[in-house]
């Protein structure tokens, strides 16, 4: 029997499984207060999922506000936080939208499909803004490389990211892979998508215009991802049904590719007012958000939804997370034209309702009303928690246990051995085994991709206008100091973008933390946001949107606090981009920035000593800004031929990466007054190496001097086939390559 509004009003004492659906007693009571009666089954399902942490941001909202409150003045921001994704003006009438989304838990349960549908979901977000998706990136965290579970999860995740993105025809232009024991059983899969449109093409997902049609199109609705909501079906009302629906969502990238082309044709023909993607909470989310963002109400006849599995209950249909579906708002005059386009693409379409002026979201099932709510109470006025947070008692101890006492290599041989071991360590080793599974060429606009510092895309063929994007995040730094750690992630992504010659403009973030019910985790979270918001203010790059993923923990142990930051920059002419590899013999290598004895949270301390303690490297955002300006100006004026930012593993790793790119050699000397070990492996920030043609040396050093920015001539590119750190050691390039490139392939090809 179907639970209707009418029935709910008559049976106030009917017991309901709110608990199993993850609602708290006071939340359930609040729903009753809002409705003035008990919710129907369908309403309960809807509230429970829309008020979940994932959809409502109830624990994070109070902190996330800072991104708005502290947002720097920026003319570039066309659409800010709150929509499917933020939109940034890049000039010449072009706008770019980009965002990160996590799919962590599903990727642990079913790595291939979890990662694949993660990519699919973020691509639909970008598409809903009216943009053509043009590239993806993936930021990954796994347990130790040698753990059995990593061998189950990593190949599947990588195949899933590639399988979906490659089939969609979106180049993968970058990302990260980090291994740490805290991610065992809690892998992180964060996907980023970037899309492009003209200013006039921006669409907001609002349902306005009384009488406009609500249209559901794309894949049919099946039982995907409704594990929780199926409780409603099995426990209280209809015991004949299968008790467990599949929680696993399966992606169909071909369907999504067709959906992309179809949506872009619909936008282009101007036959659709708004499109909302269906992600978490499916139809519940799409209808309540569209209605809530609009100015009226919405009426839906749920039985009109095309089903893959005819046995689904109304509650399940509303909860289903079947992939590759979109909801459109279409004026009655345009409906025929709309349907003609979806038919041309063989995309199944159903008109399921219309926009009303009632201010209510009403959903009927075969003529009986099963939902009658104010959509704002579902989508926007969910619970907000001010969860207690407290600096954990162990934080002082952790910071006190610095890396000072760790044994350091001193002789040239020891330094050489350290370099070769670090190069082969999981976090610093080449990620080519992974990135070779991703298509970076499709669409023909990829100017730089892995292993470069940032991905660079051409946007406009006639002018060369383009964008650069990098994602970064260092959970070890953040564990030592979450405020600083978040700023370090920002600083690194910002620096990576500037290294290619792009002017950084805007930020998206993926915040992955443990349980918000743990005050220590909540403190890490609050500190990270405060750090990121302050950092964005200082760098003048607003946060345009992002994602929060909480409850990433095993038992009481949370993952490292992992704030992943994506920075978008613009290049007026991508032909001017600066690549990372050394190429021309005789050019001069400069080190920009100041090198200090900073090893807290470093890759060296971790890989060589399994040590994590002390303070992370200090942040100097003014210096980051200055460095970025030097890199951008030098690229514009043609003063440098290559640049590589310094980060994990320090100068030595950056040098090797630049040398390996084109297989040249280099000779490097340790500047006076610097300890060779500190010179080679410190992780001091706001640094980069650049390669300057002899003819430009004076102009380049004059520019640095005028800005009082530290710069040192540390070496020369040559074709000797070795890396020669003078007075310390010499390593043949082939030996460097073997150390760098064999770790992942020998692990996964065994």
């Amino acid at each position: 029997m179907i639970d209707t509004v009418e029935l709910a009003a008559k049976t106030p004492d009917q017991s309901q499984p709110w608990d199993e659906l993850g609602l708290k007693a006071d939340e359930y009571q609040r729903i009753r207060d809002i409705l003035g009666r008990r919710p129907t089954n369908a309403e309960l399902a809807m509230y429970s999922v829309m008020w979940s942490e994932h959809c409502s941001y109830k624990s994070s909202k109070v902190h996330l506000r800072q991104f708005g409150d502290k947002a720097p003045q920026s003319d570039a921001l066309l659409v800010g936080m709150g929509q499917n994704a933020g939109v940034v003006d890049i000039g010449h009438g072009y706008a770019v939208t980009f965002k990160i989304e996590s799919h962590n838990h599903p990727s642990y349960v079913e790595p291939y499909q979890g990662a694949a549908t993660g990519v699919g979901g973020i691509v639909r977000d970008i598409l809903a803004m009216g943009a053509r998706p043009v590239a993806v990136m993936d930021s990954l965290r796994f347990g130790p490389l040698d753990a059995d579970d990593t061998h189950r999860v990593l190949p599947g995740v990588v195949a899933g990211v590639g399988g979906y993105g490659n089939c969609l025809g979106l180049p993968n232009i970058g990302g990260e892979v980090v291994f740490d024991p805290s991610y065992a059983a809690n892998p992180l899969v964060n996907a980023l998508c970037v899309g492009v449109m003209k200013h006039d093409d921006i669409h907001l997902a609002n349902a306005t215009g009384v009488g406009n049609k609500v249209v559901l199109f794309g894949a049919r609705t099946g039982g995907d991802g409704i594990g929780g909501a199926s409780i409603l079906a099995s426990e209280s009302f209809d015991d004949t049904k299968p008790s467990k629906r599949p929680a696993v969502q399966v992606g169909d990238p071909f369907m999504e590719k067709v959906l992309i082309e179809c949506c872009l044709e619909l936008f282009g023909a101007q036959v659709v007012e708004a499109i909302q993607d269906l992600g978490a909470a499916g139809i519940s989310c799409a209808t309540s958000e569209l209605a809530s963002n609009g100015d009226g109400g919405m009426y839906v006849q749920l039985e009109k939804v095309l089903l893959r599995d005819p046995s689904l209950t109304p509650g399940e249909i509303m909860m289903s997370e079947s992939q590759e579906r979109m909801m459109g708002i279409v004026t009655p005059e345009n409906l025929d034209a709309f349907l003609a386009i979806t038919a041309r693409w063989d995309v199944e379409t159903a008109v399921i309702g219309e926009v009303t002026g009632t201010g209510r979201l009403i959903i009927d099932w075969h003529g009986e009303t099963i939902v009658d709510v104010d959509p704002r109470t579902v989508a926007h006025d969910g619970p907000v928690y001010e969860r207690p947070f407290a600096r954990p008692p162990w934080q002082d101890e952790l910071q006190a246990a610095g890396p000072e006492g760790l044994a350091r290599p001193s002789s040239g041989d020891e330094l050489r051995g350290t370099l070769l071991r670090l190069l082969a360590s999981p976090n610093l080793a080449s990620k080519a085994w992974i990135t070779d599974q991703y298509d970076r060429y499709v669409l023909g606009n990829t100017v730089l991709a892995q292993p470069e510092d940032a991905g660079v895309l051409r946007i406009d063929e006639s002018t060369g206008l383009g964008v650069a994007i990098a994602t970064d995040g260092n959970g070890r730094y953040a564990k030592l100091d979450p405020y600083t750690g978040a700023q370090l992630a920002l600083a690194e992504a910002y620096r990576n973008v500037a290294t290619t010659g792009a002017r950084p403009l805007a930020v998206t973030d993926g915040l992955n933390f443990g349980s918000p019910e743990d005050p220590a985790v909540m403190w890490q979270f609050a500190e990270a946001i405060r750090g990121l918001a302050d950092g964005c203010q200082a760098l003048g790059t607003p946060v345009t949107g992002g994602n929060v993923s909480l409850y990433n923990q095993t038992g009481d142990t949370a993952i490292l606090p992992t704030a992943i930051v994506g920075v978008l920059g613009v290049l007026d002419d991508v032909a001017r981009r600066t690549p990372q590899g050394f190429r021309e013999s005789g050019q001069v290598v400069y080190l920009l920035g100041e090198t200090r004895d900073e090893f807290g949270g470093s890759e060296w301390a971790w890989a060589e000593h399994g040590h994590l303690g002390g303070r992370p490297p200090s942040v100097d955002l003014a210096a980051e800004r200055e460095l970025a300006e030097i890199l951008v100006n030098a690229s514009r004026d043609g003063l440098i031929d290559a640049a590589h930012d310094l980060s994990d593993g320090g100068l030595a790793i950056a040098l090797v990466e630049s040398v390996l790119r084109y297989g040249v050699g280099a000779r490097v000397w340790v500047p006076d007054g610097l300890d060779p070990f500190v010179f080679l492996f410190s992780e001091s920030q706001a640094r980069a190496i650049v390669v300057v043609p002899r003819s430009e040396e004076v102009r380049f050093t004059d520019m640095c001097s005028a800005r009082r920015f530290p710069h040192q001539r540390i070496g020369m590119v040559d074709d000797g086939g070795v890396l020669d750190v003078q007075g310390q050691f010499v390593v043949p390039v082939d030996e460097l390559r073997a150390a760098h490139e064999s770790t992942l392939s020998s692990t996964f090809e065994a």
């Binding site: 349960v109 079913e110 499909q113 894949a219 099946g222 039982g223 995907d224 299968p242 629906r245 599949p246 696993v248 399966v250 992606g251 169909d252 071909f254 369907m255 893959r308 599995d309 079947s322 992939q323 063989d346």
Partner: protein
Amino acid sequence: MARVVVDVMLKPEILDPQGKAVQGAFGRLGFEGVASVRQGKRFEIELDGEATPEAVAEIERAAATLLANPVIEDFTVHVEAGV
């Protein structure tokens, strides 16, 4: 020598994009009367020896861990006669 066959199919409630695509092609090619198509995998395993109950039990264990992904797939194992 004996042959054991393992058939692996997606669980009925799981979306099968390949099957869907094949079904679409059936329609376009004018093959009538097809209500649904599901596509799965077939493994033909040749044993060195006889298909003893122990050997088949081994294969069954392998099917559950290696050949099928129990999160989304079901499988059946049978000994093929007369090989």
